[in-house]
Chain length 238, copies 2
């Protein structure tokens, strides 16, 4: 195995974006691709590390850039500020995600017929918007994402897996209930997993311990959700 | 592989019970055990088939008998009649499950330190009562079970996996919300999976298609939940 990483620039609607590929360069031929969508702070180290882990599993991973080149947060206030226009404009989220998806599908090592999208926090919201908008992917996975949308789906063509903390105050039970209603009414092929005791951002091992506030790493839920992702990929990317 | 099955009689509080073992007789030595708890009609073909499948996975499976020898239903009315005293007396459920657990742990092929319990419908309710009552098992799994209890747990020592249909009218969202509250307050190590479009009894491939009423087989949810069970056992019975 020889994981290669490369940054790449691409455009969406006049905006420059800067994404990040990771894949095993020692493995010959095309393989399934996984789009990875970042949190509300923009594409950073955590998602790049996850791209490397996906490359080790045999996928081409692409950490896309929803916010645009250089639009990255270093404080919580920055996160709120740079993500706000996207939370408010789901069409823009979908367009930026689509541009990233095209980058991934166009990569020389990717089998463009076998592509999934995963996202963390804001990225979870993004991949659900992709599914609602009919993005051509075999499946999407939300890790501790958000479920609210001004444009609920009437029908959904892609498989959905939602991995969520049972004690996530950012996306509380009422929002879970809304997703359940939307997905069942749309007759979606979806699956929803709650992890006991898990708060928001439960997969992010870079979080310092004993944080005040809604986010905390939980190793057990991190491992179980990664396994659930692998099972899902075994089904949708086989 | 040579799956051996054997019926066995045992007693609980003066009542004779008749359970069902299945294990690979060609495999030497002790191995983890899985207690399997039947639906509201009593121990029947479906659970016996699942015991055989668990034997093929390498476990000693024991289909226990909660209702007592010969107490079996052949109609829905029978199911309701014979299960009712147990729904009303959770102490009796726990005692009968415990008697079954002791049979399993006492089997010559079972490593008594590595035992889990799974249950279907009424059996799902039963294994949750076992967890609430402090049964000495490494984990329990409810397949399309029921969650109500007059004796919610203050704390829970065993791992719990709950596999549930998103459109199960027997155990609706309000009962799910109650379980979530109970488990989070008890700080349980639990995981909850909802399968989109799945109704009650979604794993039972013996159900005729297009049944009226709350129950329906769903192949996708059946396969995914069986995989989730295997992942859970890999964690708790390793």
């Amino acid at each position: 195995m020889s994981v290669k990483t490369e940054s790449t620039e691409y455009k969406q609607g006049g905006t420059s974006c800067e994404g990040y590929f990771a894949y095993d360069d020692a493995k010959p031929g095309k393989r399934p691709g996984v789009l990875v969508v970042h949190e509300w702070g923009g594409l950073g180290d955590y998602v790049k590390q996850r791209c490397g882990m996906l490359a080790e599993l045999g996928y081409v991973a692409f950490g896309c850039d929803i916010f645009g080149k250089g639009v990255r947060a270093s404080t919580m206030e920055d996160c709120a500020r740079i993500s706000e226009p996207f939370y408010k404009d789901r069409g823009l989220i979908r367009a930026r995600a689509q541009a990233g998806l095209e980058q991934l599908k166009g990569h020389a090592r990717v089998d463009a017929g076998k592509v999934a999208a995963i996202g963390y926090c804001f990225g979870g919201l993004t991949v659900l918007e992709m599914a609602r908008g009919g993005a051509q992917v075999n499946g999407v996975i939300s890790f501790h994402g958000q479920f609210n949308t001004p444009v609920p789906a009437k029908s959904i063509g892609t498989k959905i897996l939602v991995l969520h903390g049972a004690s996530d105050p950012v996306t509380p039970p009422e929002e879970v209930a809304g997703l359940l209603k939307e997905m069942e009414e749309a007759k979606a092929d979806w699956e929803f997993i709650l992890y006991g005791g898990a708060k928001h951002t439960f997969t992010n091992y870079n979080l310092p311990p004993n944080l005040p506030g809604p986010a905390a790493y939980q190793e057990k839920a991190d491992k179980r959700s990664w396994q659930a992702m692998k099972d899902f990929f075994a089904e949708v990317l086989a």
